[in-house]
Symmetry: C2
Subunit: 160 residues, 2 copies
């Protein structure tokens, strides 16, 4: 069945589960999933792997793409990227490269990434303003782990 906006929370739950999986592994709680809009098929999912794999490039969105592997030309133009957090500029650029028409995020209270850039490139950006996911991320950023790791993941430098 084609995906409609009423379905977005259902798919976001999959991204949320990925974020919680990462948290349970001691990782950064951000998850993503890729859904084929014409059919509703969930093609892939993933989560941040900075801690788990010592990775600089595996965020929720890019890890979902990496788990997907190669697909036929143009398939990603028919897909929606779901992510639990406003996508950073790396992940925004990735969505532009592969011409995702829509990016759905759970929240941008904890971080605002490349939303304006995505829109400037014609990508639809939808914010679900999910209270539960917002709290999960806020709690993690305020935790000891978050204080140590979060700035590294978004290219920032902590105050001395």
């Amino acid at each position: 069945m084609p995906v409609t906006p009423a379905d977005y929370p259902k798919y976001m739950r999959i991204a949320h589960e990925q974020a919680l999986k990462s948290l349970s592994e001691g990782g950064i709680p951000i998850g993503g999933c890729i859904v084929h809009a014409p059919t509703g098929d969930v093609l892939s999912k993933g989560h941040n792997k900075r801690v788990q794999e010592n990775s600089n490039i595996k965020h929720g969105e890019t890890d979902a793409l990496e788990n997907l592997g190669r697909v036929r030309e143009g398939l990603l133009r028919e897909c929606i990227m779901f992510t639990t957090l406003s996508p950073c500029i790396m992940c925004s650029g990735t969505c532009v490269l592969y011409k995702f028409p829509t990016v759905v995020l759970a929240e941008n209270d904890n971080f605002v990434g490349g939303e304006d850039f995505l829109r400037s490139q014609g990508v639809e950006v939808v914010n679900l303003k999910d209270a539960e996911i917002t709290k999960m991320m806020a709690d993690w950023i305020a935790s000891d782990a978050g204080k140590k790791i979060w700035n590294e993941d978004i290219g920032e430098v902590s105050a001395e």
Copy 2:
């Protein structure tokens, strides 16, 4: 020794070697390397792994970052990204995320990526206009392998 522009061709040779390594593996001949500007240390190198690892996210630049692994906050702000080809918008976004001050590319005759975007974000972009690397990439794009794989790597769709 601090890196000066006179050193750029020497470091580009490392990225070129990475591109040739990828080519010898049946992969896409694009390579990158990351150099610490204040010391001249080559911190990492990498190449496109679409074919070798079925990867959607490992381009020359991002693979070099992945091979580097986690580093101290702010280190990448002191680094130069070298790449054999004008960086696609995914890799451009990645350089913006980590605040690379300078991106040095070998050529943009075969593809123009996110150079304007990089400049708009304050990143210095230097094009070495390397004839040998330009020919290597042009030859590959025109080859049977290039005709099959190149559009996939840059998010395009081949004409029927």
